[in-house]
Symmetry: C3
Subunit: 100 residues, 3 copies
């Protein structure tokens, strides 16, 4: 099977950020996403204000350029203010043109 | 710790396909799977008919041959008709013989 | 964007083990984790006693040394007695110092 290697961007954040993060992904050029409910704890989970809601784990297969853009936006506009983890891994997909 | 590198196949699809996809994985030779509830949107999320159910994210660690078989079956029998994402990444496992 | 490559450890186990596994991760040196509810089946899902609860999928970005320690503890103290899968993949993170 012919596959293409693309970056998979995974974001873990407070659920309250779900809609904003999906919006950021789309603005950066992501064609889709998958989100799961999650809970967690960690040095990057700073909790914004009084909100103690659950977390959300969002993943999106994108182009290298879109992955770079997402990392830049999150590092600049979210990391200083919100509980947020973001990581990128390489995955092989069928019909890579659907994601870029 | 001695580890083996094996492909991890991840499938995201409408929940209605859960049982059929597990069946395909087993028929292809997968020894097990893990599934999470998910929601999402994207160019590959075409929605079949009237059904607007949630999505499911299924992952399975398999042999290279089983991964190849799963990709082929999904590309041939599912991609034309259903909302479906499939991607493969490499993971290191302990006791790799349990998965192949 | 400057990134660091770190191991992402993923553990899938019966929900009943959630707290113990988080404790093991922390004891091994993990700075945080993300957990999702899951269900599954497989050769490593042996079911401990009468308990038929759901599964949990826990992931943590850690240092190589912590990943090694987690694999060793799980292989020694959990694999013989519990339904458990553990796998490691490489991910690129922003601000890698937060995880090690």
């Amino acid at each position: 099977m012919n596959t293409t290697t693309l970056p998979l961007v995974t974001i873990v954040a407070e659920s309250i950020l779900h809609d904003r993060l999906i919006e950021e992904l789309k603005k950066a050029g992501a064609k889709g996403y998958t989100a799961c409910s999650a809970e967690g704890d960690g040095s990057r989970h700073l909790r914004s204000g009084e909100l103690l809601g659950d977390n959300v784990r969002i993943e999106a297969i994108v182009s290298e350029a879109v992955a770079e853009k997402v990392l830049n936006v999150l590092a600049r506009d979210y990391f200083p203010y919100f509980a947020l983890i973001v990581y990128v891994s390489d995955v092989r997909v069928v019909r890579g043109d659907k994601y870029v």
